[in-house]
Symmetry: C2
Subunit: 196 residues, 2 copies
């Protein structure tokens, strides 16, 4: 069981950041982030998530035209913007990453499996996106996740092969507390949960 | 920044459980779990996830016909099986949960928004499923997430109104270390990540 300070850092006191102070995030930190989040569970160890850590001026300029107006300025100024994407042919790795089931790859192949592939990629790619958010917080970073952008434009700019597809974006860095919005209410236990 | 023990508990040493010891999970623990995971960020505070904590014999018997053979026995024996589902009309809460944008609800209404609603529900409902997994670990529980089941059968048995849809399942309890499988390899940083 984690202590109260850790629970605060991960959940109770953590806030979505809408501005970041001018303090860089190193390549070593991004590697440490992946080395932590990679352990989160995925269906048959599929690991569909693919990450682009955008932190150069050229990279940010490629991203800019895809962003909604409300997300533009803070994203240009964030030390890093992670594109959380997924490999639409994630299952090609299964003979290596899930060797216990020799039929795992075949379960995703063929025209009639396309909907299953898409659902598996979105479900597990999103799980991995949440692992990234909480791993970043665990490592002392703060996050600004966003889905307000044009996925097709991001895909055209960063994934021209058509195989990798964007899911959502997440700014990473050290938050500017003056830019945080008031916290919005969460659903009560009895609204979201049932005991059966 | 969390200490090494906490990082081990959340990510590095945590393992998917395939069997559970005979030690109950209390209603208070399930409430504490929701009270922690609820803080995780979702798009416009949409919070689409809905949870059913199945722990009665009657509840388990309702679930059983939907399970794949490999998931049946361990799920029947787990102290709790969480159904991680989503409310397909999550946006009806937005006037209350995202009051800063009076147009938020309308952005999800109408026939032409159905794909956007579905994508938002799956992305954010899955993020919340990952928050549940990591919050459970943070609170000293262990997890066995599963997507090997018949979603339509679970929906018919637990959500006859047609509004709530199952996403994945997660057994919760205290793991039996003798039932854990060998850990499968994760993709290397350079396979999953790019710097731009």
């Amino acid at each position: 069981m984690l202590n109260d300070q850790a629970l605060d850092t991960l959940f109770r006191e953590a806030r979505t950041q809408n501005g970041f102070i001018d303090k860089p995030v190193s390549d070593e930190q991004l590697r440490a982030l992946y080395e932590l989040m990679k352990w989160g569970p995925t269906t048959m160890n599929t690991q569909p998530a693919r990450l682009v850590f955008v932190r150069s001026t050229a990279g940010k300029e490629r991203l800019a035209p895809a962003l909604s107006p409300g997300n533009l300025d803070k994203t240009m100024k964030a030390p890093v913007t992670a594109i959380i994407a997924y490999d639409s042919r994630f299952y090609e790795n299964l003979p290596r990453t899930f060797p216990n089931n020799p039929n795992a790859k075949a379960a995703f192949e063929g025209e009639e499996k396309k909907a299953h592939v898409q659902t598996t990629a979105m479900r597990n790619g999103s799980l991995q996106g949440a692992y990234l958010i909480l791993a970043a917080r665990a490592l002392g970073l703060e996050c600004g996740p966003m889905s307000g952008f044009d996925n097709a434009k991001v895909d055209a700019a960063f994934f021209p092969d058509g195989r990798t597809k964007s899911n959502f974006l997440c700014n990473l860095g050290y938050g500017d507390p003056s830019k945080v919005f008031p916290r919005n209410p969460r659903l009560a236990f009895d609204e979201a949960c049932t005991l059966a």
